[in-house]
Symmetry: C2
């Protein structure tokens, strides 16, 4: 009976991917822009006609480039975020701003690995304006003011484990992730590296600039995006009207109320902390935190099960602390509400539309969907 | 009088950027996917439960990551392109596939630096299906199978010169690029670096895979994208029904008919060459090559004027050679058809819609717009 149920879920997913076209999207405006960032300037004075020396066999513009970058007084515009937006017809008043997690870009929120519509399009269909972010030093926002290096190290299996698809090469039983080779290939190719050091402060500065530009909205973060997300809530609390955190990695506890290190065989977590004035800002907005399935209750030898065990534990502790101080934080462990099999990428799983419905319900309940 | 004319152009541009909304876009389908690429595998056998050693003070998942990447038998899915597509209502039969140039991503084709609609949206409004590409090792396609390094070197002024905005800090007189500080800031922030070595063969492999997936289409390249574009035409000539090259950097001459090195104080060009069987493929499809304004006729001391002088020269020679062998190559030097002031980024210049109209006319003339 259990097997049959899983089979049905998979069949539904495949038929969705190849379903007859839905109603067309009516888009009032779409585009992209850079936001935030700084300017780094080299010493010296720029000379637009530098001394050039070249041999007759030199080739292409990289030679002139090499001469020219030793030419001082130049600028580097970097550390900005890049934003892609779509405004549908009959738009709701609060847009959704989506920030990806580690190793990802705004692709996280787009087409699923098996070709279904991503959350960007699902929420457009619900008449939310959508702002997708590539954080500073990732994807389209590759210009970093700090040097970066990108070693080409095979590590897909690490991510397969960490993202809770299963224990490679085996998927977890009943996992809500498409298990065909083509989908997994697409999933791995969705990853894209840091072009400079990850910096939650730099990222939250760019998100602050984004909210300053677009006004009030709801911030949706995934995984590593959680920490810059909390910082953004602290930096522009008057404009961040709600935070949705999908399996965030850490939580800003109030100084003095930080729990001890949470231990896991696969890497401990030291909880983050912030000062009272900052902590209080996060008590002023509704917050929902989602966790998926296959998260252990007791220490487990399986990487994904154990890594998210300690984070779910911390999430629950954080919610207690924030709510004790007057906040409104809800932790939703999806299996507890009957949504099963989710990986770390619930916005791409086979039941991604069901998770989206749950989130939409929360947005409505909190008055963020008008 | 001339000054007045320029003022009028600028005013128009600003008013366009803030114009009353146009008709909404009707989008039948949109999404993104990875295409092409290879898999690199590390030696050894993957162990999903590696020996972990950590201190109590270790923190966050980067520790477990460091242990795990020494764990062999892992894969890296890399060197793919990433594609973002939109299919409008009443779609024409041939889609347009857009490939960016050096230091750019698909952002090249999106919103202009001063906030007007990019060519992606302008051509959607003309009912073309649009496929925007981030080439392998750039933007969203950051996973490279070869190590990369990204030094944070200030070089905006080099690009300002190379992209023919002017001689920094001065814009060329009458240049069709918005001259306010905010637009230039947006333009610089549109750049994003290579995450691995530029490789025209890797890029054209991914474009071949794209045409194999979507079928017949027209390829539009910009600048450094020119060379992988020609290679794509050679690799899938039956599906590339036309090539539009915006200021390409080089041209594949027929072996034995390669012109001598073209000299410029800012870097010579050695013309590319290909074998007869490959060259012949490019004689089977219509090709149009666009060059903008402020390109010198005689050697110039100004970088941009001189660098594009030698490339325009080479383009004209290449067109002669291809046409002599039965091809259909047209070189359009925009000032010759009354379109003035264009930089290297004619798809973003103040008159970008006018250039788009010219291109649309060519597509119609060649039967590529049905």
């Amino acid at each position: 009976m259990k097997k049959l149920a899983i089979f049905t879920v998979l069949s539904l997913a495949v038929s969705t991917a190849h379903a007859a076209p839905q109603n067309p999207l009516i888009i009032e405006q779409q585009g992209s822009f850079a936001i935030g960032g700084i300017v780094k300037t080299s010493e010296g004075k720029y000379n637009s006609r530098p001394e050039m020396t070249q041999t007759k066999t030199s080739n292409e513009f990289m030679d002139v480039y090499k001469v020219n970058i030793t030419n001082g007084g130049q600028t580097l515009h970097g550390d900005h975020a890049t934003v892609s937006y779509q405004i549908p017809s009959n738009v709701k008043s609060l847009p959704l701003v989506f920030l990806h997690g580690a190793g990802q870009s705004m692709r996280t929120w787009q087409t699923t690995p098996d070709g279904r519509e991503g959350w960007n399009t699902l929420f457009l269909r619900k008449n939310y304006a959508i702002y997708l972010v590539d954080q500073p030093r990732r994807g389209w926002s590759g210009r970093s003011t700090v040097d970066g290096s990108i070693p080409a190290i095979p590590d897909d299996q690490f991510w397969f484990a960490q993202f809770r698809m299963g224990e490679y090469p085996h998927f977890f039983k009943g996992v809500a992730f498409p298990q065909d080779a083509a989908s997994l290939d697409q999933f791995f190719r969705q990853m894209t590296p840091n072009t400079g050091p990850f910096d939650a402060s730099v990222i939250s500065n760019s998100l602050k600039a984004l909210f300053d530009r677009i006004g009030n909205g709801v911030l949706v973060t995934h995984s590593q995006g959680g920490s810059p997300g909390w910082l953004t809530g602290i930096k522009v609390p008057e404009k961040v009207k709600g935070i949705v955190a999908i399996e965030p990695g850490n939580f800003p506890f109030l100084e003095g109320e930080v729990p001890p290190i949470v231990e896991s065989a696969y890497g401990n977590i030291t909880a983050d902390s912030v000062k009272k004035a900052d902590f209080d800002k996060l008590t002023k907005m509704p917050i929902i935190i989602y966790f998926g399935d296959n998260i252990a209750e007791e220490p487990s030898k399986i990487q994904g099960e154990d890594q998210w065990r300690i984070r779910l534990l911390l999430a629950k502790k954080w919610a207690e602390v924030v709510n004790k101080h007057g906040g409104d934080v809800q932790v939703v462990h999806l299996p507890d509400v009957g949504i099963k099999g989710n990986t770390h990428f619930m916005m791409q799983d086979l039941n991604s539309a069901e998770v989206a419905e749950h989130l939409d319900g929360w947005l409505k309940e909190k008055g963020l969907s008008n």
